[in-house]
């Protein structure tokens, strides 16, 4: 197994762990962190492929993702704050207002 395969496996593992966290954890903050893990799994694969192709495009894209992720968190955290203020809990299952 060469270096690239190891890195890709690591990237898939990161993504899978993140996804698992988003689906099964109830805590909203943990879910947000897990989302970051998923993003970073993707970032790692981008860098790896970029290195393999000898191009810097993938690496540049990673910076873009950092910026977007920062902006996203900057909005997500206040939303979480608002939700917590409403029900004094971080449990996502208490927020099922969209139930049909």
């Amino acid at each position: 197994m060469d270096k690239i395969q190891v890195l890709l496996a690591l990237s898939v593992a990161l993504f899978a762990v993140g996804l698992l966290g988003v689906v099964i954890r109830r805590n909203m903050l943990v879910m947000l962190m897990c989302m970051e893990l998923m993003l970073n799994g993707v970032n790692l694969s981008l860098v790896t492929f970029s290195h393999q192709l000898g191009s810097t495009v993938g690496a540049v894209l990673v910076f873009l993702i950092f910026v977007v992720a920062t902006a996203e968190i900057a909005i997500a955290i206040p939303i979480v704050l608002m939700l917590v203020r409403q029900k004094h809990t971080l449990d996502i299952n208490t927020f099922t207002n969209l139930k049909g």
């Binding site: 996804l19 207002n97 049909g100």
Partner: protein
């Protein structure tokens, strides 16, 4: 003037628009009563003068019909439908009656309706009525005639229900309108049939089409019967006469206008105008004569016992119209129009006289509460007496001539005259004479049966009313000397007389005169001595009296046989089953179904964010696997 015929028709419409828009509350009461009186009475008089001018012009043109196209209504394919007016001898007579008697009634109304709060509305409707009636009479095509035909129906509805605050009067207006509509259905079908076969609705062309050796491919009898159904509605014949007696709910001058001079004669005019068809339809003609005779007799019997002064006159109108239809049925079209003409004078005079009596008695209409009025309102009495003698057929007043001719032709015409027809018509005439003199006696002679209060206020009507009565009485007296059937003969030839019966003419005239005087004598005998003899007679035949007083209970029979089943059908079948179950049910059912579906599908939306995420993931995985396997 180029458009003089159009002007005759349109002038009353102008009066309607002016009064309707300027003088009513709807238009903000911009002008006063003086303006209303002048326009409403003035414009019909101008129409009348123009009609006279047209008659002079017709004479100068050697009685060549004047034709005038006012407007092209529609062009469909090669066919054009025009509003054109047609003026010949028959139209001239009818137009002069309508505008002449109509104008007199307008003038009379100015006095009669003086204190009514809806003065302007009344005159606007009256003008509208005259407009439609002139359209009916002057129209060249059946289509224009039909517009007028429907229009007078509308105007009569408005006028009969003029005092619409009283539900009974409003209902009478509705009844007139609906009963007329039933007849109109027949008229329309006849029109369709004519148009389909002949491709034209112009009445002169229709008559011409039936006046050739090869008849058009349509049954003249069928068309004749269909058009006659229309005529029975407008002219109050059996079985559609029921609206006319109820129509007395309107103001009395309206009764005079509708029931004497104009609307009810429309059916007679229609058949006389389309005599070309009826000449080739012996079956339809026999039906016309039969219905006419039956109506004349039937209505006369009802009139014998009525106690409302206007109801007596109403049934007498129905009866006289029946006589006109007898004349039409035996082919004596000119004679029928002659009777229309004399009837217009004396019946208008009678109705307006009755109005004057009612006016004098502050609204009392029951002749059992009148009596002894002759000295108190002498002008009304004199004119009423002349008109009564005229309708009874006392020579030499107008009614004698026209009625005698009808009786003669009903007996001797080669086109369906018969002894039986003559007997029925003569019996109707005898009864006419009786009930009219009975009315005269109970109203004007004997001791007063008025309450003290009413008797105290009795007063003669103003000059605008008595003057009109005088003119109409004079016309009822001398109108018969103008030989109208002879004037119309080039257009509406009189039927041949069965040769074997020629010698009977003098005898029949004698019998008619004797009958008229017999009616007078009977009335004088029964009601002369304080009506005691009449009471005895009534007590001896209570059943017959009850039947006549209840008008043979025809209204009740119609109600039971027609109105109630129709109401039941509308309520149960059309409203409950058709509307509520079928239409509303379908819509409500669809809506409920959509709601139920949405309710069950909505359960998928749990609101659980993680389930959504999981499902999205599962979807992506399935898509990936499928792609890997297939691409």
């Amino acid at each position: 003037m180029k458009h003089v015929l159009t002007l005759i028709v349109v002038l009353p419409l102008v009066g309607f628009l002016l009064n309707g828009f300027l003088a009513t509350r709807f238009g903000g009461n911009r002008v006063g009563k003086g303006f209303v009186t002048v326009t409403a009475c003035g414009l019909p008089i101008v129409s009348f003068l123009l009609a006279v001018a047209c008659l002079v012009r017709l004479q100068e043109a050697g009685y060549q019909p004047l034709i005038e196209t006012a407007y092209t209504w529609a062009v469909i394919g090669g066919k054009s439908f025009e509003i054109s007016f047609y003026f010949d001898r028959l139209t001239a007579v009818m137009t002069l009656i309508v505008t002449g008697v109509g104008s007199l009634i307008h003038i009379y109304s100015a006095g009669y309706m003086k204190d009514d709060e809806s003065y302007a509305r009344y005159f606007a409707y009256l003008n509208l009525f005259l407009f439609f009636m002139l359209m009916l009479v002057l129209g060249r095509s059946l289509l224009v005639l039909f517009v007028g035909w429907e229009g007078v129906g509308l105007a009569s509805y408005l006028l009969i229900g003029f005092w619409f605050e009283d539900p009974e009067k409003a209902a009478a207006g509705k009844k007139a309108f609906i009963v007329n509509r039933i007849g109109d259905a027949g008229f329309l079908l006849g029109m369709f049939l004519l148009y389909q076969t002949l491709g034209t609705l112009d009445m002169d062309r229709i008559n011409a089409a039936f006046n050739v050796a090869t008849l058009p491919a349509v049954s003249a009898s069928l068309v004749g019967i269909l058009l006659f159904i229309g005529a029975t509605g407008k002219s109050a014949q059996i079985p559609l006469y029921v609206w006319l007696p109820d129509a007395m709910a309107g103001p009395t001058p309206v009764s005079a206008l509708i029931h004497a001079a104009t609307m009810v004669t429309a059916g007679v005019y229609l058949i006389a105008r389309l005599s070309g068809i009826y000449l080739h339809a012996p079956g339809a003609s026999a039906l016309v004569a039969g219905i006419g005779a039956a109506t004349a007799f039937f209505a006369a019997t009802i009139a014998l016992v009525q106690t409302d002064i206007k109801k007596v006159l109403a049934y007498s109108t129905v009866s006289q119209l029946g006589l006109m239809f007898v004349a039409l049925g035996v082919g004596a079209y000119g004679v029928a129009v002659f009777h229309v003409y004399t009837h217009a004078f004396f019946k208008a005079c009678l109705f307006l006289g009755a109005g004057s009596v009612i006016h004098a008695l502050s609204g009392e209409q029951d002749i059992m509460k009148m009596g002894g009025l002759a000295k108190k309102i002498p002008v009304t009495f004199a004119t009423f007496a002349i008109a009564t003698a005229a309708i009874a057929g006392i020579p030499p007043l107008a009614g004698f001539f026209s009625k005698d001719e009808i009786l003669w032709f009903s007996f001797a015409s080669a086109r369906g005259g018969s002894t039986f027809l003559w007997l029925v018509a003569s019996a109707a005439s005898l009864m006419t004479s009786f009930y009219m003199f009975r009315l005269l006696w109970l109203t004007f002679f004997g001791a007063s049966r008025m309450s003290h209060d009413v008797a105290h206020h009795v007063h003669e009507s103003p000059l605008s009313m008595t003057g009109v009565l005088g003119v109409l009485a004079a016309l009822s007296a001398i109108g018969g000397f103008f030989a109208l059937p002879h004037f119309l003969e080039p257009m509406l030839p009189l039927p041949d007389v069965v040769p074997a019966l020629h010698h009977c003419e003098k005898t029949l005239i004698g019998i008619a005169v004797v009958l008229a005087f017999a009616g007078l004598a009977a009335a004088a005998y029964l009601y002369g001595g304080g009506a005691r003899r009449a009471t005895t007679l009534r007590e001896r035949f209570p059943l017959a009296h009850g039947l006549l007083l209840g008008k043979y209970f025809i209204d009740e029979v119609y109600d039971f046989l027609i109105s109630r089943p129709l109401l039941w059908l509308s309520e149960r079948v059309f409203l409950r089953l058709g509307d509520r179950v079928l239409l509303d049910g379908t819509l409500n059912g669809l809506a409920a179904w959509a709601q139920r579906t949405a309710g069950s599908l909505g359960r998928i939306q749990t609101g659980n964010l993680q389930l959504y995420a999981f499902l999205a993931l599962a979807g992506v995985v399935v898509a990936l696997v499928w792609t890997w396997a297939h691409v």
